[in-house]
């Protein structure tokens, strides 16, 4: 079957996107190929076929988000949807309503698609089980952030081509990072190898959990040595008050990326960051804004990836 909107075969074997861990290589390729078409369309400022016209999309954001929500909304509008937004900073339980009731109430107003962000891992699977809507995860606790993983993979693929046997370093708070997990799953499935590094208190405690493609480095030098791409994770300030990090000064000194450290990576290695950046902490400004940085490309690719997910999971062929 050919999808008219993109002119490429566009069928996924999955109905929801709770994460990338269980997404097959073929589905990943389809998502990335479709996203690439959308990205090219965005660059040419094309009008897109309105495959989401008449599809009711609800953005359920139980946790603060600016860029992910805006990115999803942009993607939805470009495909002809009129999204509804449900935003709450506290959990639904704090208001006395269960998540199940909240979701089923909104579903009853008519919702074909839920884009959900929640502070608890497993919420996308929970919604997929308890509602009839297509569920796309926009971040669940420390578990997954699949569209971020896809946009990172797309960005790397645009510069590096096939990601098989590529070496990717992820540096920072791995333990609490859904971005790291989604990247780990996508990159492993696509054949890349991943090295993890960060403060001992923020590294995985079970190094074998992620399979043979993923290793924990022994030093920042080992993590960066010959890497094709370096991904820096945002450091959360509350890690200091919870006793996991002494200071941002020490973090910058031990884990921050500057020019001299970047030289350890392969010449021209990509620098990625999911944002928002703590400038001068995870990465110095000269590197974040430098020639090897693809941080702003990630943002544009984010819209293309979310268009691809929505289109393939919920779009109607025009």
């Amino acid at each position: 079957m050919t999808n008219v909107a993109t002119g490429i075969p566009g069928v996924l074997s999955i109905r929801h996107l709770p994460g990338l861990r269980e997404v097959s290589r073929q589905d990943l390729q389809t998502l990335l190929d479709t996203a690439q078409r959308f990205r090219e369309g965005l660059d040419r400022q094309e009008n897109f076929p309105k495959s989401l016209a008449g599809v009711s999309v609800v953005n359920l954001f139980f946790e603060n988000s600016t860029r992910t929500r805006l990115s999803f909304e942009t993607a939805q509008k470009k495909l002809g949807a009129s999204p509804m937004n449900f935003t709450t900073s506290g959990s639904s339980a704090a208001k006395g309503e269960s998540l199940r009731d909240t979701a089923r109430n909104i579903e009853s107003m008519g919702a074909d698609v839920f884009v959900v962000r929640h502070q608890s891992a497993g919420v996308p699977q929970f919604l997929a089980k308890h509602t009839k809507a297509v569920v796309i995860n926009a971040g669940d606790g420390a578990c997954e952030h699949p569209t971020q993983g896809l946009l990172d993979a797309l960005t790397m693929r645009q510069h590096l081509g096939d990601l098989a046997h590529r070496e990717v370093a992820i540096i920072g708070d791995i333990r609490h990072s859904r971005v790291a997990r989604s990247n780990i799953w996508a990159l492993s499935t696509l054949g890349a190898r991943v090295r993890l590094w960060g403060p001992a208190t923020l590294l995985p405690r079970s190094p074998l959990a992620f399979g043979p493609s993923v290793s924990i480095a022994q030093s920042i030098e080992e993590a960066l040595e010959g890497a094709d791409a370096v991904m820096l994770l945002r450091i959360q300030h509350e890690r200091q008050s919870s006793g996991m990090l002494p200071s941002l000064r020490e973090y910058r000194q031990s884990f921050g990326l500057d020019h001299s450290r970047l030289k350890l990576a392969r010449p021209g290695a990509l620098v990625l960051h999911p944002g928002p950046i703590n400038r001068g902490i995870e990465v110095v400004s000269e590197v974040a804004d430098g020639a090897q940085s693809v941080i702003l490309e990630q943002v544009t690719n984010g819209v293309a990836v979310r268009m691809a997910c929505l289109h393939l999971l919920a779009g109607k062929n025009p």
Partner: protein, 372 residues
């Protein structure tokens, strides 16, 4: 075809019901009915209801509510009252409490823990506790291991149990308290209890039946019915629990019966309370897996772990099956479902799975009587 066998009534070392406070989840009557249908004729009841069972009057109330049931109830009272004061252990014992409990974690104040043990020794009360250290277990949800790492869920490390034991065991040695370690879950924990017993400490221990059947992979798809405390641990821990059971380090198998109403349980993983019901499915689940995913165990051995040893720990006289037993059909299968379970709660991981044997009837003083 049927294969009927009469087994001694089982005895559980720590089930929880919801009365008072959460009667929608389980009343004393509904819980005892579930127990009888699981082959139990006696059951030690945990005190952490709302309000908790921490006075002699409440112990008497529990006993009164249980009258007329096919399963005898033995209330465990709370070892502490609000604000970290000792409960009236002597009055509680005289009212019928079979012991006192510290619950799922050790008190943060170790000096208070020592007081509990000292006072319990003098008043002749057995202290029940799952020895986990609270600061290591408080924020976790599942076993700290590869599954937790993959799912990004906060883990409960084995260290929480070993450090709990490391705090508790020297105090048991010093105070000579009689302590029952509930719901042992880890290899390191088993090893510590093994050497404590070898050194002559008066401790006994149990483990939950699902900890003998399953490991932490059971939560890999966020199945809330497998969210229990202590958590289902790694495969190596499960194997060690069997080693401990077979060499006598672990004395008994418990149901870990924790009813939670559907309204509470059917929430996202983080918001879903710990607990699964287990009285009705404990024995049938074990026998269904006998010689498959667990070692081959003879019926007489199950009776040791499910009846003799728990009764001994609670100070009850041994029984014969004719006097207090259950008829089971080892050729029949049954499927836990809304229509077969009698517990008021449905947080049952075995829901929909075919189990064997099936309870047929009760035997009391030589007379066959129907299942309640």
């Amino acid at each position: 075809m049927s294969d009927l066998r009469l087994l001694r009534g089982f005895c559980d070392l720590g089930a929880a019901f919801g009365e008072p406070g959460s009667e929608q989840a389980e009343t004393i009557k509904s819980g005892l009915r579930a127990a009888a249908r699981g082959g139990y004729s006696a059951l030690a009841l945990e005190p952490f209801t709302d309000p908790p069972i921490d006075t002699d009057a409440q112990v008497q109330l529990v006993l009164t509510r249980a009258q007329g049931s096919s399963c005898r109830i033995l209330p465990i009272a709370s070892a502490a009252r609000e604000k970290g004061t000792l409960s009236e252990m002597t009055l509680l014992r005289e009212a019928g409490a079979v012991g006192v409990s510290l619950g799922d974690t050790l008190p943060r104040n170790i000096a208070f823990l020592r007081s509990v043990l000292e006072y319990a020794t003098q008043s002749g009360s057995t202290v029940f506790v799952h020895p986990s250290e609270a600061s290591l277990s408080d924020e976790g949800m599942v076993h700290e291991g590869e599954v937790a790492e993959r799912l990004g869920l906060r883990g409960i490390p084995v260290d929480s149990e070993t450090i709990g034991l490391g705090i508790l065991l020297p105090l048991v040695h010093r105070t000579r308290a009689r302590v029952h370690l509930s719901r042992l879950s880890s290899r390191s924990g088993v090893e510590m209890v093994r050497s404590a017993k070898a050194s002559g400490l008066s401790v006994t221990a149990d483990t939950g039946f699902r900890h003998l059947l399953l490991n932490d992979h059971a939560v890999e798809q966020f199945d809330v019915n497998h969210k229990v405390f202590p958590p289902l641990r790694g495969e190596d821990d499960r194997q060690a629990l069997w080693e401990g059971l077979l060499d006598g380090t672990i004395d008994a198998i418990c149901s870990m019966h924790r009813p939670v109403s559907a309204e509470m349980k059917n929430a996202e993983f983080a918001a879903s309370p710990y607990g699964a019901i287990g009285l009705e499915t404990c024995f049938a689940s074990l026998v269904t897996e006998n010689g498959r995913t667990i070692p081959q165990v003879e019926l007489a051995q199950w009776e040791q772990w499910l009846s003799h040893h728990p009764r001994k720990i609670l100070g009850l006289a041994p029984i014969e099956a004719e006097q207090e037993g259950t008829w089971w059909d080892f050729e029949a299968t049954w499927i836990p479902s809304d229509s077969t379970l009698v517990s008021r709660s449905r947080n049952c991981p075995e829901m929909g799975r075919a189990l064997s044997p099936k309870p047929v009837s009760l035997c009391r003083n030589g007379h066959e009587i129907a299942l309640p």
